[in-house]
Symmetry: C2
Subunit: 471 residues, 2 copies
Amino acid sequence: MEGSIAARPLRAGLPDGLAQTLADLLGDRFTRGLPEREHHGRGESYHPTRPPDAVCYALTTDEVSAIVRACAGHRVPVIPFGGGTSLEGHVAALHGGVCLDLSRMTRIAAVRADDLDATVEAGVTRQQLNAHLRDTGLFFPVDPGGESTLGGMAATRASGTNAVRYGTMKDNVVSLTAVMADGTVIRTGSRARKSSAGYDLTRLLVGSEGTLGIVTELTVRLHGIPEAVAASVCAFPSVEAAVATVVEIVQCGVPIARVELLDPVTIAAVNRHSGTALTEAPTLFMEFHGTAAGTAEQMALVGALAEGNGALGFETAADADARARLWRARHDVHYAVQALRPNGRVWSTDVCVPIASLPRCLAETRADIAGASFPITTVGHVGDGNFHLGLIVDPSSEAELAEAAALNDRLVRRAIAMDGTCTGEHGIGSGKVKFMDLEHGAAIGVMRSIKQALDPLGILNPGKVLPDEAD
Amino acid sequence: MEGSIAARPLRAGLPDGLAQTLADLLGDRFTRGLPEREHHGRGESYHPTRPPDAVCYALTTDEVSAIVRACAGHRVPVIPFGGGTSLEGHVAALHGGVCLDLSRMTRIAAVRADDLDATVEAGVTRQQLNAHLRDTGLFFPVDPGGESTLGGMAATRASGTNAVRYGTMKDNVVSLTAVMADGTVIRTGSRARKSSAGYDLTRLLVGSEGTLGIVTELTVRLHGIPEAVAASVCAFPSVEAAVATVVEIVQCGVPIARVELLDPVTIAAVNRHSGTALTEAPTLFMEFHGTAAGTAEQMALVGALAEGNGALGFETAADADARARLWRARHDVHYAVQALRPNGRVWSTDVCVPIASLPRCLAETRADIAGASFPITTVGHVGDGNFHLGLIVDPSSEAELAEAAALNDRLVRRAIAMDGTCTGEHGIGSGKVKFMDLEHGAAIGVMRSIKQALDPLGILNPGKVLPDEAD
């Protein structure tokens, strides 16, 4: 299958006519100021800043459509921007163009508690949504670290600590409103819990990273806050023992809500950053959802499995406050790790493998990194087979960046050889484009045909997800 | 967005050159005999038989690729065929062409109990897979009625009675091997539980009904057989009372495994067909999965909700045999209903609406059908908001078919107005193409662009899923 993406070159720089159109449309919500452009040209990882030529702040789907149509008319790239928490260079303006910031679209259009769903604009964060849901007995479970927007989370198919029980954005987005490359506004799917009516455009746009369309509104599934929630912290003599426990939990079908691995280096960083006093050993943070009796049953079973693997202790968080502190500490790991090295940047790896291969993948990886010349942390959503190394590099050191890249390269090849993926939840962006052929083979041709069909000018977030054909 | 599907006309009839190629390739697995062609031109519903020009039985992915390539060379349609259980005319050869029967591809390539997945060829049925899994402690949950193949179930995004707990084919297919319109073989995704690596081709092909590619192999998720399984039958004074109970079960977040509604006409049909002695009243069939204590808790809560809605009795199936008889009877409803009228055919409707709208949708629908001139049954996967009317029509009566079509038309418009879908699980086929514009609006243009990009000659199952542009 052939497709020639952006056969006609994209326009470099910002044509005067386009600048005028956008200024007329948006007033002071259109800007070419350098600080704002630089802020919009980087995420939270090691990728260098690549500022766009201008930034537009949209307030409505119609404005997004008008901006895209104007850019299409001038063949100028459009790069959607949410919370700026990308880890793989998704927002870098590799070919210049206009950054379309959706973070001001923060309206919660509807909460339908009886249907267990809500419709929100793309700029709403999970924190905002959950605060809004406070009195309904419902919550939205997908929880990447940071203040990500739901639009950005849909675009990268994000997940987090609850995915082992509640699934990822793929499972929790019911329907989307999106602006396509020619400005057409579509809505994907209905609010029915299931449907066999045609192609699943919702799932096609989820994870497409703004390269096929721009998500402006989402309907998401909500879940009932469980009657009982219990949390545990369990230290182990080795990473291997902790992971063996997790594999057994999954294989036994325990409906655990969260099960997170933190290695000793990470625990030390958390203790320093969050003021906790955890034992500096490989540790699982766990959470159990259900009825009071059900969570007690789950904890008893998991406690027995942990003991069988030589656990050093199985402590239960005393109350809701202790639980909240525990998960706040877990969510702040990225920042805790970053604080380990002043002026360092965290290069977060993200492989995910079938659960039975996780112990071997982790063991081989930890052997491989033993001699690294910079600090490395290991944390993982291990119930999903997904873990992150935090490579804390000096971004000004070519040698360290090269060493990190080589290490990540070996890790990704190891995971793909185990029938896993180069990214469990961070996305491809520009950082992992080079692994797409290896992971997908001939299927890349199909992805390319879809991109070519839906964005024939190649203006939507160019350089992301798909390798250039010359590669 | 524009796309002109099959701008160049498809070839009518079977060119001699193609017949020779296929005969050379397949020997006696290529046939032009009328009985086999007729068998392959119909499903299990009211749709008239539309035989293909020939039938090919493939044994391998490579053979499927060769057949598709040969047909593409002659611009002849290819219609995939599995168990022949389609309800919406999916297999009708509307433009002639070659039926590609995958039902002999029945190899179970791998069961990876430790990873909770299995890889099977497209012709494997769920019954075959579950029999094969007997000693592993695992099962595959998706269970449409009939002996459907897993390939066909993926193609129609099928579900069944377990979807309320375990999801549909969308949630239970991990990865696919598929043959695209030019014969290219692709594999979609890895076996990782989650991934953010590019466009979700798995979910794009699931539900595409053979119009974008032909599924030849699937990796599916397996689930642990729960420690305890309990089943209940509960009769109610009215359909309204039964449905009110279901809505409360879902809103309370009870993790019920199955909850099926059968109206009194259906119960009578089941009693006659399956030799049961159920009270002829609106009835819920329910199943609970978990630990012994957990299922007991669920049943106590559901029993209380049922009592609050005036249940006439809440009976528990005594043992595994009684449970098996109950669900066998439920799965045979299609045939039980068909037996209500000799020479009748069942036209099964399939709307699905958000759960809070289900009571009103059912009430308005039951009022609408009160004066129908043929028998009508109501059954439903009500935990999903999905129900089926069984319109038992005389297929030789134009008047009855017109009455059924008008009734279904009103039902579909009612469901779509409630933000529901025309089909929860049966698919679009040719039978519901006319509702696609109403349900999807501008998104149809995007679907059309994808179809045009992936099947530029329009040879894959033409006339299905998407309306002709002239419509």
